[in-house]
């Protein structure tokens, strides 16, 4: 009984004290909660295999993200890998699903990739040195969870040769300091100006760091996609050629 009371009391204290949190304090607690800033800085990369369920269609997605900015995203259909997007630090390319030939991505996509390479391992880690800013916005309920709302402003995106503010609204659980949801604006096409929402759940530990193993994406057009991580490997060994544009 005493143990139960003290546990509840701890929660009440945690929640009362958290009312006066600044954005930096929340971010600090968040980074600490997922394993600590040092552990994040030591991270050299990750290989993630996840299932994507979008409108009843299931795909296996394989993503490599390296701390130097290199990325490799592909999906597996019937045992064959289809490369969506690869960044080798200089070039951004993908394989055309129809022709199955590699093609360079547009200058705009490359520019925006270059502007986001410091997001890994975590966009809040040393955010100021990346030129990002944060702002405490409000308290809101998300999925029945009391949350802090924090505005993260990253380096502007380039859309049609003009710079566009790159803002994400993070909702951190007031109890755990983990992000429950992120919202951001769509900048292209028929969904321009509409908000997209990513919800996070199933936090699990991998080598001392915590990751949300489920991400539910509610697109601006109401379509819903669910990413479920099946396997997450930290600091994978990857050959340089893996990222290089295949000239042949």
């Amino acid at each position: 009984m005493i143990k139960q009371f003290s546990t509840v009391a701890f929660f009440i204290m945690l929640s009362v004290s958290s009312m006066a949190q600044s954005a930096d304090q929340i971010i600090e607690k968040y980074l600490e909660a997922i394993g600590g800033e040092d552990a994040l800085r030591d991270l050299e990369g990750q290989r993630m295999t996840s299932h994507l369920n979008t409108n009843g269609i299931e795909l296996k997605l394989i993503t490599y993200t390296m701390s130097d900015g290199r990325q490799h995203v592909s999906y597996d259909v019937q045992g064959k890998l289809y490369i969506v997007s690869v960044f080798d630090g200089t070039d951004l390319w993908g394989v055309n699903t129809t022709t199955q030939e590699p093609e360079m991505k547009s200058d705009q996509e490359l520019e925006n990739m270059n502007r986001s390479i410091e997001d890994y391992p975590n966009c809040f880690l040393d955010y100021a040195s990346k030129g990002y800013t944060v702002e405490m916005m409000d308290f809101e309920d998300v999925d029945g969870v009391d949350c802090y709302k924090i505005k993260l402003t990253k380096i502007p995106l380039v859309i049609d040769e003009e710079e566009v503010e790159n803002v994400l609204y993070y909702y951190f659980d007031e109890e755990t300091f983990l992000p429950v949801q992120v919202q951001f604006e769509e900048h292209y096409g028929a969904n321009i100006g509409k908000m997209r929402t990513n919800s996070y759940a199933d936090y699990q530990e991998v080598d001392g760091l915590y990751f949300p193993f489920t991400m539910i994406v509610n697109a601006a057009d109401q379509r819903k996609s669910v990413f479920t991580i099946e396997n997450l490997e930290l600091n994978p060994e990857v050959e340089d050629e893996f990222f290089t544009f295949p000239e042949n």
Binding site: G35, T98, N191, G193, A201
Partner: protein, 1029 residues
């Protein structure tokens, strides 16, 4: 740290959950994944009140609307997105900070085009991030904000023109100023309690110079008055410290509403449109000297018509002689206001016009029927088709499958359209069944091709037969010896649950027809207060007479016949009476006294009465006091035929009430529509919760519940039709349910959907209404959001075999997960390209399925029943045949996949070993060649996924026939069966070839491996292979 937290959370989750009770929960805690869907429509859109463009970027345009909030375009007016859903949806003015136009946006709420049905505002709001987030900045009692002017050099200095209360005296009017970005406001200029600032404009070259139009006006439920001695145009040259009338050249006598605009390219040039006592002096005035003198240039009808509704004048940004005036059709002058021509064809009733800042020929026009765009300076207009702003007064539904929704709209006629449609509910799905302003529309209860609609003031009531597309006017007329009939602008019509041919219409009397409107019987005396002082509508309008019928008063507004007893009829009137007959209209009892005892103010408009479906003595009544300047919520219940009434509204409800719906199964589940959204009570009205899941804070004018689908259908006055599909889970929420960690709700049998998916012809610039999901809806309640550890949902068949996995919702409260009745896709052989057919997941057979949620170490499960559609041309035998052959082909796909896997693994091994082991090279290379030859006959190994694709191989042909038969609902055709036989023969041939390889080249290779002590490849067995990702 997370580990510690995780432990704490696991310890406390159950404790917290067990202590949770219903009374503590808010809507956020409870409604979870139950979301509203919007079906518009947008083809007639709704009233747009204000247009505001970015001062330097013509791609960014904002519109404020009469009841649909604020919308923003970032692509020059092609696509608009709603950015103000959570706040008051009635908009007076939108303003953009010239110093920080990408971020600082101000919205003044409360429409200023003061028609009878206009809504109310609740203050001024600011966004500092281009509309993503908003904060209320005060002026809560302003009701209507006409103008916001932001100092061009100081973003904290803002002037606000407040028109103020329409329906009563108010001191919160005039011009307000803030110098601290809205933290505090100073009332800068005030006339009196009846006169508000209808327009405030600022000289673009000198912010100390402003012009302000003041309008004396008043609306009551029965009259409107525009004009008086206090209406005037003022000018300040010292930033608002002093204001002087600038009437040199204006007509003498009383003035009404005044419009004022500055030519941006020549700020001394002003245009003003005046409503004058002498009508010949009304119209356009022009000043060339900053208002020192004025010259009357035109009194055209297009300029002077209905000033209270059309009073916006706009000057071209680059040409001071091009000036446009909002109006019935909209007018434009190219000669400085001397002569005007009409704008191109669009919906009438134009409220604002915006000229593009860079394209001299592009303009936008705000109308009663949405937003229009012109690329030739108004010669021709095209409608923006993605603005679902439709303003319904009422909705009803029929019993068809899918059901149709019927309703009438402000200035946009009467319509019906489907609640769902292949590809989404598109503009083409809606059919018009009445013109003018539309109000109550009903289908005949048993003959849905017959429907009733009306136009304003019951000027015409139609009976329309959709089968033969014929109409008959059935309006009741006065008979000899009886007084003139008084119909409300929004006159009540209703059908009967007891007699399908019965129709009621309300004037001051109740009119009853039992033959679909051919014969009318008056079954009541005058049930209103019949106050003669409220019946002088011919005098309504003030300086400009305006007797449209919109102010008709002392009329019946709502009629409800009890579904339990046709003799029990409830009537509510716009002047505050509630009357009941318990003998089919022979005698009537005025039960208003009981309401007054329960603190309802006298003469408060009875907006809706809901006769209970559980008890004929029970009814609910909602009252709207806003036309008496009273915005409180009035919602009452009686259990004794109206003798006594109990108030149900609590402090959680915001806004005056217009609509109510009692649940059809659970008497404690109630729905209340107010001017600011939808509220739900699950305990009989003891506590209300706002429903905000994709539900904007828009006025809910009518609520209907579908008896078959249990959908809640909302007729909103600004955001079209909004549906909450199947609210059954709300009926089942109890204290016990909310205390459990995971609680599966009781679910009905789920019927498969076999309808065609053909449809969807709209482009990306057109609004398309969402369809409901057609899958099985698995509903469960969670006491707390799931955050830590795995949470999975699997479907098992009756024998416990895995069928498929679903993505579970993880919210606190209700979670709804949809299953499309499909199992998993077969393991399909890999190739150079993908097999589209191999991506097909077969439908499961009907029967019982178990839903299992694995949440951390715990497991929760329930069973559901899956059945074939009730209506279908296919027999059970045909379906069984289809299912059996589909699964036979499913298995063949997997067998082929495994065969190809074996070939690939051995080929890889043989090729690799042949390179490093010379003694193996001969047999290894031969094996690789043989196997590759077979593989190339089984799967595509060349080409691409489009026009460069290779000829189909066995995998592709097998996938195609598998998905074709699996995608059908009945037995396979003879041709398909012949195709299956061919596939089976080809598969047998592949097996035979593989057997020959196994006993030939492969055996030799294996023998050699053994001899050389080289490890053979470790192949998965079939079961392991098909399970592998």
């Amino acid at each position: 740290m997370l580990k510690q937290l995780l432990t704490i959370c696991l310890i406390t989750v159950s404790g917290l959950a067990m202590s949770q009770s219903l009374s503590e929960l808010t809507g956020d805690d409870l409604f979870g994944g139950l979301r509203a869907r919007h079906i518009g429509p947008a083809l007639m859109s709704g009233r747009v009140s204000d247009i505001e463009g970015h001062p330097t970027n013509n791609k960014v345009i904002y519109i404020g609307t009469a009841g649909g909030g604020v919308w923003k375009s970032q692509d020059g007016g092609v696509i608009f997105s709603s950015i103000f859903d959570n706040y008051c949806q009635s908009i007076g003015a939108v303003a953009i900070d010239p110093q920080n136009p990408d971020k600082n946006i101000w919205v003044g709420t409360g429409e200023i085009w003061t028609r009878n049905s206009t809504s109310v505002g609740d203050g001024i709001y600011q966004s500092k991030d281009g509309g993503n987030n908003w904060k209320k900045m005060g002026l809560e009692k302003s009701e209507r904000i006409s103008s916001i002017q932001i100092h061009p050099k100081n973003s904290d200095v803002i002037y606000v023109g407040v028109l103020g209360a329409l329906w009563g005296d108010s001191e919160e009017r005039g011009i307000y100023k803030t110098t601290d970005g809205g933290s505090t406001w100073e009332k800068l200029f005030y006339i009196d309690q009846k006169t508000g600032c209808s327009e405030l404009v600022m000289d673009p070259t000198n912010p100390d110079v402003m012009y302000a139009a003041f309008w004396e006006h008043r609306r009551t439920a029965w009259s409107f008055s525009s004009g008086g001695t206090q209406s005037a145009l003022y000018k300040t040259t010292d930033g608002g410290k002093t204001w002087n009338k600038i009437h040199n050249g204006f007509p003498t006598g009383q003035l009404g509403r005044i419009a004022i605009a500055i030519a941006p390219s020549a700020p001394k040039t002003l245009y003003s449109v005046i409503e004058a006592e002498d009508a010949s002096k009304s119209g356009m005035y022009r000043s060339e000297d900053g208002g020192a003198t004025w010259k009357h240039t035109s009194a055209d009808f297009g300029l002077t018509v209905r000033p209270f509704y059309f009073s916006r004048v706009v000057v071209h940004p680059k040409n001071p002689d091009i000036v446009a005036k909002a109006g019935l059709f909209g007018s434009i002058s190219r000669d400085g206001g001397n002569t005007f021509k009409g704008l191109g064809q669009m919906h009438p009733d134009i409220h604002d016009i915006w000229f593009d800042i860079t394209d001299p020929d592009k303009l936008f026009s705000a109308t009663d029927g949405g937003l229009y765009r012109s690329l030739n300076l108004g010669e021709t207009m095209e409608m923006i088709e993605n603005l679902p702003l439709s303003q319904f007064y009422h909705v009803s539904v029929d019993n068809q499958e899918p059901y149709n929704i019927y309703g009438g709209l402000q200035d946009n006629g009467s319509w019906f359209g489907p609640s769902q449609s292949p590809g989404g509910v598109e503009a083409r799905d809606w059919e018009v069944i009445g013109v003018g302003d539309g109000f109550r529309v009903y289908p005949h209860p048993t003959k849905p091709h017959i429907m009733y609609s009306e136009m304003q003031g019951a000027e015409t009531i139609w009976r329309y037969d959709d089968e033969i597309r014929q109409t008959k006017v059935i309006t009741p007329f006065p008979v000899k010896g009886e007084p003139k009939l008084r119909f409300n602008w929004n006159a009540p019509i209703t059908t009967s649950a007891n007699n399908p041919d019965r129709l009621y219409v309300g004037s001051q009397f109740v009119h009853l027809s039992n033959d679909k409107g051919d014969t009318w019987t008056k079954i009541s005396p005058d049930l209103t207060t019949n106050n003669p002082a409220k019946q002088n509508q011919a005098e309504s309008g003030g300086l400009s007479k305006d007797n449209s019928g919109a102010e008709n008063h002392c009329t019946i507004f709502t009629i409800a016949e009890s579904s339990l007893d046709q003799n029990v009829i409830w009537v509510g009137t716009d002047d505050g009476n509630v009357q009941i007959s318990q003998n089919g209209g022979k005698t009537w009892t005025n039960v208003t006294e009981g309401l007054l005892t329960a603190k309802l103010p006298a003469n408060t408009w009875c907006y809706h009465i809901e006769a209970s479906v559980f008890d004929k003595a029970t009814a609910y009544a909602v009252f709207d006091g806003h036309t008496k300047n009273d915005g409180k919520t009035y919602c009452y219940k009686t259990n004794d035929f109206g003798k006594t009434w109990t108030s149900l509204a609590d402090e959680n409800v915001n806004g005056f009430a217009r609509s109510f719906q009692e649940d059809l199964k659970n008497p404690n589940l109630l729905f209340l529509g107010t001017e600011f959204g939808l509220y739900v009570s699950i305990n009989g009205g003891a506590k209300w919760m706002k429903f905000e899941n994709n539900m904007p804070s828009t006025a809910v004018h009518y609520i209907e519940m579908h008896p078959k689908t249990n959908d809640l259908i909302l007729g909103t006055h600004g955001r079209g039709i909004i549906i909450i599909d199947d609210i059954t889970p709300l009926r089942l929420i109890t204290d016990e349910v909310v205390a459990r960690e995971v609680h599966f709700m009781e679910m009905p049998t789920f019927y498969m959907n076999e309808e065609s998916t053909f449809g969807g012809t709209s482009g990306e610039t057109q609004f398309v209404g969402q369809n409901p999901s057609t899958g099985a809806r698995i509903a469960y309640f969670m006491a707390k959001r799931h955050t830590f550890g795995k949470m999975r949902m699997n479907v098992l068949d009756k024998d416990g075999n895995y069928v498929t996995s679903l993505s579970p919702g993880k919210q606190k409260g209700l979670n709804l997960v949809y299953w499309n009745f499909n199992g998993s896709v077969p393991k399909t052989a890999g190739g150079k390209t993908f097999s589209v057919g191999g991506m097909f997941a077969p439908r499961v057979p009907v029967g019982t399925y178990t839903i299992v949620i694995e949440k951390g170490k715990e497991s929760f499960e329930t069973t559901i029943e899956v059945a074939y559609p009730k209506k279908s041309v296919f027999t059970s035998e045909e379906r069984k045949k289809q299912e059996a052959i589909t699964m036979e082909l499913f298995n063949l796909n997997e067998e082929l996949a495994y065969l190809v896997y074996e070939l690939e693994e051995w080929t890889k091994h043989a090729e690799a070993q042949s390179k490093v082991q010379p003694k193996l090279a001969k047999t290894g290379n031969k094996l690789a060649t043989t196997m590759e030859t077979l593989r190339a006959d089984l799967v595509i190994t060349t080409g691409d996924n489009y026009v460069g694709r290779a000829e189909n191989k066995l995998r592709e042909d097998m996938g195609e026939i598998y998905s074709t038969i699996g995608g059908n609902y009945g037995a396979p055709t003879v041709s398909q069966l012949e195709g299956v036989e061919l596939i089976k023969e080809q598969m047998q041939s592949a097996r035979d070839r593989m057997s020959a390889i196994r006993s030939g080249d492969l055996k030799k290779y294996q023998d050699q491996l053994k001899k050389l002590e080289i490890e053979a490849p470790k192949l998965l067995d079939f079961k392991e292979y098909v399970k592998k990702d």
